[in-house]
């Protein structure tokens, strides 16, 4: 690794800290400014004002705001995060430890499928520009982009789960298998491989198919369009013409030479979408009852669970920073012209 790249990485990692601090501070104060209250939102009209006051005191919500902020900041720095204020008041670390792996396990195959399908179709459409295949792929990309993801999920559920019975409609694993399944990391696929629990692995993969394909297809339209447009531009450059003149096969020109040059904008898109998906998979998680972090965050915002929301966003901010850093590193490998 060159010294300039090393310097670049260290600077970016250090800058991540103030970035996360600013974000969580903003979220903390905004959550407290928002009308609504975690206690009342659970109890509703039941519960006397005296009872509410007792619960607020027990949860430390009656302390001055700066004391609560300081406490929250300390817990974040020590990676403790404290306890949630609602839904069982569990340790947020435990809840994130359950939810985050579930979303990552959904997102990785979804992103893989979408990148593979989107880039392949986009490259093929560019190669067959103005031919029927090009038009067909473009129409497909518009349709798939327009369909709301939860509607797509519902259609898949009805066809493949309810009518054909090929795949389960909800959850991460068969209920009976979950009774005895041991998953220390909460990455079910990984843990089933490590423990050689083949029935669990098969069940996990079966449960992954519909939600990851739904999520993947919902994103594919953008990849198709972006790849196609960039490919068309590259295919018109001099070096491609020269390659053709030298007799290099068209297939090699498109998929080995031209495609590599379209990767910069596509990498950017992958990085952006991966970060967004961590929270944005909420619609897919709802449709398939996938116990991920998007669903968790939405629910806790509804309940005004200050600690859970701010801790979750702190974790998101960290992930976004790391992913964006990884993308920057990948640029340097993909494009030799990029120097830091």
């Amino acid at each position: 690794m060159s010294s300039s790249l090393r310097r670049f990485l260290i600077t970016r990692l250090i800058l991540t800290i103030p970035m996360i601090w600013i974000m969580i501070t903003l979220v903390f104060f905004i959550m407290h400014v928002l009308p609504g209250d975690p206690i009342r939102s659970q109890l509703g009209p039941k519960g006397t004002p005296e009872q509410i006051a007792v619960i607020r005191e027990r949860l430390g919500l009656d302390r001055p705001i700066m004391v609560q902020y300081g406490d929250f900041l300390w817990k974040t720095i020590t990676l403790d995060f404290g306890n949630a204020l609602t839904q069982g008041e569990r340790r947020i670390k435990d809840e994130l430890g359950e939810r985050l792996p579930a979303t990552i396990e959904l997102t990785i195959p979804a992103m893989t499928i979408t990148a593979f399908v989107g880039i392949s179709l986009g490259a093929y459409a560019a190669k067959r520009r103005k031919k029927p295949e090009d038009y067909g792929i473009r129409v497909f990309s518009i349709i798939i982009y327009s369909i709301p993801v939860f509607f797509l999920g519902l259609i898949f559920q009805i066809i493949f789960s309810v009518n054909l019975g090929w795949f389960p409609s909800a959850g991460r694993i068969d209920p009976l298998l979950l009774v005895t399944f041991d998953s220390p990391t909460n990455f079910y696929v990984l843990d089933s491989i490590l423990t050689r629990n083949w029935p669990a692995l098969i069940s996990c993969l079966q449960h992954l198919v519909l939600p990851s394909v739904t999520l993947a297809l919902a994103l594919t339209g953008v990849y198709i369009r972006l790849t196609r447009v960039n490919m068309i531009e590259i295919l018109q450059t001099d070096f491609i013409t020269a390659g053709r003149a030298r007799g290099i096969p068209e297939r090699m020109l498109v998929y080995s030479h031209a495609l590599r040059n379209t990767f910069i904008p596509i990498l950017t898109l992958i990085g952006l979408e991966f970060a967004i998906l961590l929270a944005g998979a909420v619609l897919t998680e709802t449709t398939f009852s996938w116990p991920g972090i998007g669903l968790y965050l939405v629910r806790r915002i509804e309940l005004r669970d200050y600690t859970a929301v701010t801790a979750t966003i702190a974790v998101f901010a960290f992930f976004v920073a790391i992913i964006s850093l990884l993308m920057d590193i990948l640029y340097a490998f993909v494009d030799p012209r990029i120097r830091y």
């Binding site: 600013i22 407290h32 009342r40 519960g47 700066m66 968790y296």
Partner: protein
């Protein structure tokens, strides 16, 4: 230089946020609310005077102009049940007092009352009507629109519909900022008390945003009814309370929302009655049933509910109480599918002449699922735990003054007053003992397991996925479970859940199935759909302290 400017701007933004939150009230009033009233949270009586919005005559006028049948037909296609009393059907005392006084609708009466109050077509009576758009289902907005149209048909009223999301809405009505608003109600126990006092009792009405208090007639009527121990006399007294409700209108009951439960053919024993308890131990499979799990020893029940707390002295939601009542037993309980009270841990009980002392005799040899003996002293621990700051602690403490366990088999409760419905109180979840894992001096909402004294024990819980219950080998009751294992599977979406019961991935789809899915599933031959006349009431509350 440029980066310096960026840091300065960012710092200013952060400081502004900190200042803003430091100045913000803990519960901010809604920006669209009418001007907050003079009434503080401890007001016990509606302030009199010409500036008060809600006089009795105006409340009666609104009540007379509402047509519940039309609401139920237009919004729910007739699925819901018009409510002419706040007391549900099935209670001995139930009287359709609003029907007696106003018929299904009396527009002329409404007009006469409004005219007598001085309102004309040019000078209409105007008020804001509030609702939460999401909390009670998306149809709420439609319900409010229909109410608005009905009330405006008098030609003498203008209704301004306003909405707020749930978290803010609760703060607003408790603070007394909403003059007229819709709420839903679920009972805590099976007695008319929980269906009448919350909006008509001087103390309880404050917490429900109504601030109603009538010390001349309503309050004495409530107190007489709740302290009467003779069932027939009590029914008569509650009937009088319902008549006063229709006369004085502290709130307007609108309709009852049924719940639906769908099961695969071959699943038997589903019995959910007025107490709204779902007893898993009476479920069974017929010989030709095809269980979702492939195994007749396991039944899978789907739900879109979430677990909030499994500490019996904290839990205060329907689903939590369902789990607690299947893994634990209160002093008394209900015969499945009925409102008949039968022994729980208590074999029998006696009441003192003044109605202030209840003495319960426990069954002998009750053991926890882990084999530990259960003793009467647990009820003293339970009493102390109600003061730990849980969500439900205040509820039993409203009625219980103190408790003693003179020996291992006897529990003596001294009450804060004479309550004829105390047997229904001790059938609630707060009277279920906490298990060994839960400390005596602190709450533990999510224990890793529940080795209780109920027909089942909870062996595992994966949040957002499922909970597994297994038959308790040490259960003391005669009604041991037919099915060895119950898996409660958690869904995020009722449509997915209904698809799962349709395709046989689960055996039962329970709360909250919703009327749309229930109607769809009822057409399928492999499923049975039952309506549970759930005691879920929707009603409109007048904040009688609202000022113009």
């Amino acid at each position: 230089m440029k980066s310096k400017k960026i840091f300065v701007v960012l710092s200013l933004v952060i400081m502004a946020s900190m200042l803003l939150s430091a100045c913000a009230q803990p519960t901010a009033a809604p920006t669209e609310a009418p001007a907050p009233t003079e009434a503080p949270a401890v007001a016990t009586e509606a302030p009199a005077g010409p500036q008060q919005i809600w006089t009795k005559e105006l409340r009666q006028a609104v009540a007379a102009s509402i047509d519940r049948e039309a609401i139920v037909d237009r919004v729910f296609q007739g699925r819901n049940i018009p409510a002419y009393s706040s007391v549900p059907e099935g209670y001995a005392s139930m009287k359709e007092s609003f029907l007696d006084k106003y018929g299904t609708r009396d527009l002329q009466m409404a007009k006469d009352l409004l005219t007598a109050a001085g309102y004309t077509a040019d000078n209409k009576f105007a008020f804001d009507l509030w609702y939460p758009p999401e909390h009670y289902g998306v149809e709420t907005a439609d319900v409010m629109q229909v109410v608005k149209e009905q009330v405006e048909e008098t030609g003498l009223i203008t209704v301004n519909l306003q909405s707020q999301n749930w978290a803010e809405y609760v703060d607003s009505f408790v603070a007394g900022s909403l003059p007229f608003f819709i709420l839903g109600w679920f009972p805590d126990f099976v007695d008319e008390e929980t269906w009448t006092s919350p909006w008509a009792d001087c103390e309880q009405s404050k917490g429900n945003g109504g601030f109603y208090c009538d010390k001349e007639k309503m309050q004495p009527a409530l107190e007489a009814a709740r302290s009467e121990t003779d069932a027939a006399k009590r029914a008569d007294l509650w009937g009088q309370v319902q008549d006063l409700y229709a006369e004085d209108v502290p709130m307007i009951p609108l309709f009852w929302e049924p719940e639906f439960i769908s099961s695969r053919k071959g699943v038997e024993g589903i019995a959910i009655g007025a107490p709204f308890e779902f007893n898993y131990n009476v479920l069974s499979f017929s010989d030709d049933a095809v269980p979702a799990s492939g195994d007749k020893n396991t039944i899978i029940i789907g739900t879109t509910d979430e677990v909030n707390s499994l500490d019996p002295q904290d839990a205060y939601s329907t689903h939590d109480w369902e789990i607690l009542k299947n893994t634990g037993t209160a002093l008394l309980r209900y015969k499945p599918g009925t409102a008949e009270i039968i022994p729980g841990t208590a074999e029998s009980y006696t009441v003192s002449d003044d109605g202030l002392t209840y003495t319960f005799k426990l069954f002998p040899s009750i053991k926890y699922a882990d084999g530990t003996d259960f003793k009467a002293s647990e009820y003293v621990t339970m009493f102390n735990r109600w003061s730990l700051g849980g969500q439900v602690g205040f509820l039993p403490l409203t009625y219980v003054e103190s408790v003693e366990a003179p020996d291992d088999m006897t529990v003596v409760y001294k009450l804060t007053g004479s309550y004829g419905f105390f047997p229904a109180i001790v059938a609630m979840a707060p009277f279920i003992p906490a298990t060994a894992e839960i400390p005596d001096d602190a709450l533990l909402q999510i224990p890793t397991k529940i080795d209780g004294i109920g027909p089942y024990k909870m062996v595992s819980y994966d949040p957002g996925q499922q909970m597994v219950l297994e038959a308790n080998p040490n259960y003391f009751g005669a009604d041991k479970p037919f099915i060895e294992r119950v898996i409660v599977k958690y869904y995020a979406d009722p449509t997915t859940m209904s698809g799962a019961v349709e395709s046989g991935q689960i055996d039962i789809a329970w709360r909250i199935l919703g009327p749309t899915e229930a109607t769809r599933l009822s057409a399928l031959p492999e499923l049975t759909v039952s309506t549970v006349n759930a005691p879920a009431l929707r009603y409109l509350v007048f904040n009688v302290t609202s000022m113009k």
